[in-house]
């Protein structure tokens, strides 16, 4: 299946075009900055930093983070196709995907909880554990993603 994917016209375009691969990589790093940037700020807020900002204020920012997530899902699929067989057999890549999958679910959970509590910041203490897990997941995802190029 992955060999078939590697030989589709899209995969060949990404792999052979002079600009497709670097362009997708550039989109991927911009999406990364949006997703991890915003979510790490949310996590730090939940852990007690910059209390002047209400946690509910992060709700529109989380929606923006999902846009970044979309950018990376699309650019990620393009990048994946060009070397599908290599990626599926790479442990670090699978760790990265796992972290992103759990991280996305966790983000949805946090988003729902913030929507429920609304402007009531006093309820946020219970979210500290989730914030720590979220930070760790993105940290591991970045590390594993970078190491995929080496291992």
């Amino acid at each position: 299946m992955f060999e078939w994917l590697e030989n589709t016209s899209v995969a060949l375009w990404v792999g052979e075009s002079l600009w497709a691969y670097p362009f997708m990589l550039s989109m991927h790093v911009i999406g990364l900055a949006i997703v991890v940037g915003i979510l790490s700020m949310l996590d730090l807020r939940l852990l007690g930093s910059f209390k002047g900002i209400r946690t509910a204020a992060f709700l529109p920012l989380i929606r923006f983070a999902w846009i970044g997530f979309g950018i990376n899902a699309v650019s990620g699929v393009f990048l994946f196709t060009s070397q599908a067989t290599t990626f599926v057999s790479s442990t670090t890549f699978l760790i990265k995907l796992g972290c992103i999958f759990i991280g996305a679910i966790l983000t949805k959970v946090l988003q729902n909880k913030l929507q429920e509590t609304g402007a009531d910041d006093s309820a946020d203490g219970s979210l500290k554990g989730l914030a720590v897990v979220s930070l760790l997941l993105w940290l591991v995802a970045i590390t594993a993603g970078r190491l995929t190029a080496y291992i």
């Binding site: 990589l25 550039s26 910059f50 204020a57 529109p60 590390t143």
Partner: protein
């Protein structure tokens, strides 16, 4: 620039960076974490300064600045080490050169903010729609930093300047 790059090769830092095999991937990972902190903080600060997310207290967004500086510090440190580890490649790379110009533009823009906006910000209402000059500064910041990411990522794929 090339003469400077040549003088680095053979130096202590060059030897260290190139001889420890796990250092480069580790520094790349830190560079990515740093850019997330830098951009993450700035997206919140600049988006609010550009007039979005009016419900967020504008002065409070600037409490994120220490994280922006931590991100910048991490990336300045790892960035300098990257340069010292492969000076001849970076010095002549058009992607790197454009990236550095954009970092300088972003820096001057931050200085402009510091001189022009920071002193008057204290008197702003929390839900203010910022004046035009503040919005311009916010957009210059967002565009230049996005460009920094873009050209940074292109460094391995573009040639000499």
């Amino acid at each position: 620039m090339e003469a400077f790059a040549q003088s680095i090769e053979g130096g202590v830092v060059y030897t260290w960076v190139t001889s420890v095999y796990w250092l480069w991937p580790l520094m790349e990972t830190i560079h990515f974490i740093g850019l997330s902190l830098l951009l993450g903080g700035l997206i919140v600060i600049d988006a609010r300064l550009a007039g979005f997310f009016r419900g967020v207290n504008i002065a409070a967004t600037h409490k994120l600045l220490p994280w922006v500086f931590i991100g910048f510090g991490l990336n300045l440190t790892t960035g300098v080490l990257f340069f010292f580890g492969d000076p001849l490649r970076y010095a002549v790379n058009i992607g790197f050169q454009i990236k550095m110009v954009l970092v300088m533009i972003a820096g001057l823009n931050a200085l402009w903010f510091w001189i022009k906006i920071n002193p008057v910000m204290q008197s702003w209402e929390p839900d203010i729609d910022p004046p035009g000059v503040a919005k311009l500064i916010a957009w210059i910041s967002l565009v230049s930093w996005t460009g920094v990411l873009l050209f940074g990522r292109l460094i391995p794929y573009v040639g000499t300047g």
